[in-house]
């Protein structure tokens, strides 16, 4: 077994890249979750403490980071459902390419309306 797997590709097609993207979005969401529970815990300290910290999130930069977060969550959610179908649905592996396209379609259909409405909130539309 080589000690440096860096610089190699496992076939390098959509199957590998969706696996890579699932990992990256998963790690990102996990670290967000740690921070999210900690900041929400401030409701137990005082209304002022919570409102002050949440207030620092209400700006365009964090607003755009929230767009990225929701995009990552939507991908991770529907790519996860694709994984379940490949694992448990008898026809899943044969239809894996169609499932991949399905993930992309559902992602766009949910993400685009979200981005429009969220950015209207963020930029005061």
């Amino acid at each position: 077994m080589p000690s440096k797997p860096v610089g190699t590709l496992y076939r390098g097609r959509e199957g590998m890249w969706s696996w890579v993207a699932h990992r990256i979005t998963g790690v990102g969401i996990f670290f967000f979750l740690l921070v999210h529970v900690l900041d929400t815990a401030l409701v137990r300290v005082s209304p002022e403490a919570y409102n002050e910290v949440i207030g620092t999130y209400k700006n365009p930069i964090v607003g755009l980071m929230e767009v990225g977060l929701v995009g990552a969550i939507l991908f991770h959610a529907f790519n996860g459902i694709r994984l379940i179908l490949v694992d448990f649905w008898a026809k899943g592996p044969r239809n894996q390419r169609k499932l991949m396209i399905g993930v992309g379609v559902v992602w766009v259909v949910l993400f685009v309306p979200f981005v429009i409405r969220h950015l209207m909130h963020v930029f005061g539309g």
Binding site: L34, T40, S46, Y50
Partner: protein, 151 residues
């Protein structure tokens, strides 16, 4: 970069080294963990997308998030249970995913041990803290609250 025909994992899987004992005394931990990721994942799709929809899409979205918003939600037992389930499932799902990644990329036993110790400590702190907050939260902490339970 060169293409390879199969994943370059060792035939003696590292994750088995951590979870199971040996061929005769092996546990099914990795099987249950694999199944848990799929079952919790399905539940989380509903819990998290519902959470995002209610908090970010309805009403004023992100601009309406403040203490009064959280108080209004957690005055309702449905949202307490919703958020509790989401907290536990998301943390277990995320912690187990991070464990898999540590097993995949950290090669030295020492590194793996300390990364996992850090991961598990952080996860326990967050789950315990979050659970306590959901159940000991006082929605009437704000004297100007207009919630009916505070009158």
């Amino acid at each position: 970069m060169s293409d390879i025909a199969a994943p370059r994992s060792s035939t003696r899987s590292r994750s088995l080294k951590g979870g199971g004992r040996n061929r005769s005394g092996q546990t099914n931990f990795e099987l249950y963990s694999w199944l848990f990721m799929r079952l919790s994942g399905l539940a989380l799709v509903v819990l998290v997308l519902g959470h995002l929809f209610v908090n970010l899409m309805l009403g004023g979205g992100i601009t309406a998030l403040d203490f009064a918003f959280v108080a209004g939600k957690w005055a309702n037992p449905l949202w307490q249970v919703w958020d509790l389930l989401m907290l536990w499932l998301a943390m277990l799902h995320g912690t187990n995913g991070m464990r898999t990644i540590i097993n995949d990329y950290a090669e030295k036993d020492q590194t793996r041990f300390w990364l996992k110790a850090l991961l598990i400590t952080a996860s326990i702190v967050v789950v315990v803290l979050g659970t306590l907050v959901i159940f000991t939260f006082d929605p009437c902490l704000d004297p100007s609250s207009t919630l009916s339970v505070c009158k």
